[in-house]
């Protein structure tokens, strides 16, 4: 396979708390290929948003590497960061909270354009109209304030702001989680159209499996800061290998009444992400857990492009592997 656009090598982000280090993102290896969408799923608090923000350099990584087009960009200097902002962008979950309430749509969209220094005053206006058109906002909304817009329109502004500088990589941090289902579909279609037109690479963070299935080429499943499984999208839904992924997939409601699915119900609580013990973090809730699960786990390629971090994956999936 070609070199990935963005590659993470053992990326870690720990936060200091008064109880100890909180392992929000722990030793993540992940590759994002040009023009593709990598879905990142996991329950709330598993570190998927932190991962997105760390890649985009809103958090400073604790350890590990971030590569962009093969170049190490883990700790960029000012100049490099400025250039990176044009290459890597982010769309946030709540478009109302992330738009400055005192800025009109025009002000918000203008900012990245001015910052880049690539636009003259005259072409700025044209570019804003073009941008609004690209994300499906009518030009008459230029002077509107965020509170005057509906959720869907606000998110379109958020998307417009992210694509303003024509980036290659966009981290979408739950971009549709706060929208109505009908609007969700519109926004996802918009994101897909933009991907087709500009060859964008997405990291699509979500907790909604039906959304991620629709948009992603590959899917990574996270559990408490760690990657438990990565696989091509279709394969993940057909052949989930990690016990946690199996539980997630089984929770999707089925419309097939002739073949009712067996739901795997997880028991027990999430363990604390603060100073966690080594070993599989899912083990305390896993029905298959043995002594070996309390040893550190390794991400292993069990099928082409399908990685699983579980020491018992082969014995549990004898029918597939």
């Amino acid at each position: 396979m070609s070199t990935p656009l963005v590659e993470l090598k053992g990326l870690k982000k720990y936060f200091d708390t008064h109880k100890g280090k909180l392992h929000a993102v722990d030793d993540i290896n992940m590759s994002f290929y040009e023009g593709k969408t990598m879905g990142v799923v996991g329950e709330s608090g598993c570190g998927k948003s932190t991962l997105a923000r760390t890649i985009i350099h809103l958090h400073e990584p604790t350890d590990g590497q971030i590569l962009f087009e093969g170049k190490d960009i883990t700790y960029p200097n000012r100049r490099e960061l400025h250039d990176l902002r044009e290459q890597m962008q982010i769309i946030f979950q709540d478009p109302y909270m992330t738009l400055n309430p005192r800025y009109t749509i025009e002000d918000t969209l203008k900012e990245p354009l001015i910052l880049s220094g690539k636009y003259e005053k005259a072409s700025l206006d044209k570019q804003i109209i073009k941008l609004m058109d690209m994300v499906g906002l009518s030009g008459r909304l230029r002077m509107a304030y965020p509170h005057e817009l509906s959720g869907g329109r606000r998110q379109r502004v958020g998307i417009g702001r992210a694509i303003a500088m024509n980036p290659k990589f966009i981290a979408c941090d739950e971009p549709v989680a706060s929208l109505d289902v009908s609007i969700q579909a519109q926004i996802i279609n918009l994101l897909q159209d933009l991907q087709k037109d500009f060859g964008l690479t997405y990291m699509f963070v979500t907790h909604d499996l039906s959304v991620v299935r629709h948009i992603s080429h590959d899917i990574s499943v996270m559990y408490l800061g760690q990657l438990v499984e990565t696989s091509p999208s279709k394969e993940l839904f057909l052949k989930p290998l990690h016990p946690y992924t199996k539980a997630l997939i089984s929770a999707i409601p089925s419309t097939d009444i002739d073949h009712p699915k067996e739901r795997i119900q997880l028991k027990g609580e999430l363990m604390s992400p603060i100073e966690p013990k080594p070993g599989c973090r899912f083990a305390p809730r896993c029905v298959y857990a043995t002594e070996a699960c309390h040893m550190p786990q390794k991400l292993e390629e069990v099928l082409p492009g399908h990685f699983v971090s579980c020491c018992r994956v082969r014995e549990l999936n004898t029918d597939i592997l």
Binding site: R78, H82, R85, M97, T98, N100, R102, E111
Partner: protein, 320 residues
Amino acid sequence: MARYILRRILITIPTILCVTILVFSLLYITPGDPAEMILGSSATEEELASYREFLGVDRPYLVQLGDYLYRLFIKFDLGDSWLYASRITDEIKNRLPITFAISMYSILIAVATGIPMGVYAAVKQNGAFDKFVLVTTSVLHAVPNYVFAMIFIMVFSLQLNWFPAYGIGSLKHYVLPCMCIFISNFGSMARSMRTSMLEVIRSDYVMAARAQGFSRNVVYFLHALPNAMIPIVTQLGGRFAGALGGTLILETIFSIPGMGLYVQGAISKRDVPVILGNVVFMSIWFCLIMLLVDILYAALDPRIKAQYIAQSAGKRRKRS
């Protein structure tokens, strides 16, 4: 915008009227016979009656109220003191500049120092400077300003002989009282600026702006500060509005012939017209400052302006 200002002014007028009537009525129902108080218990019944007639307090309530309102709003006259020959309006005219100067100097210095300190403390949250600001402002805010007044008089005028201990005259006279009022304003100003700034800094749109590629400091000044200033403007309005009454104790300590000393004397001698005149004057002052704050608010916060424009546009559409 002009319509917005006009509407605010129209709302202010009945407010001032109501406050005046309320204060007048409150002082009217306070018990005690002014004539007996002034002439003493040795005065005869005839003397008391003629004195009441002289003061005008023998007339019915509504007549007195009407007379007061007429004089206040048509002739801009606050009446006469019961005890002294001077007219209240003239007294206020002489005393207002002194009190005004003391309050404004100290508030302005508090704004000029407290706001930057609050902002810096918030930006460097949990740093050494932040902790220093938190501790000092707590102390300055908690200790009443008359305590500082006593300390300052002892240290700076009695011991060091740098500044005069009482009276008003040269610029030097202003230093100590201004410092006392400054201290109490500064503490709360820095603290609320810090809190407000922290809240805005933590908001998602500040993070979003950073993702756009702005450096931290630019985001703080461009995105965070204007939003963080909104509650501070409200608070400042209250402070300016209350400024005239806030110096009461300090004027007594430093024997400054300002508004505070005037009211204080009137209260201890139950000189009702003076109390009434001062309270009414301060209420009007308060209403006017608040009017100014409202207008400033709309200029600062586009949401308020936009809301008003949308409202009036809606009304116009309905009418046509």
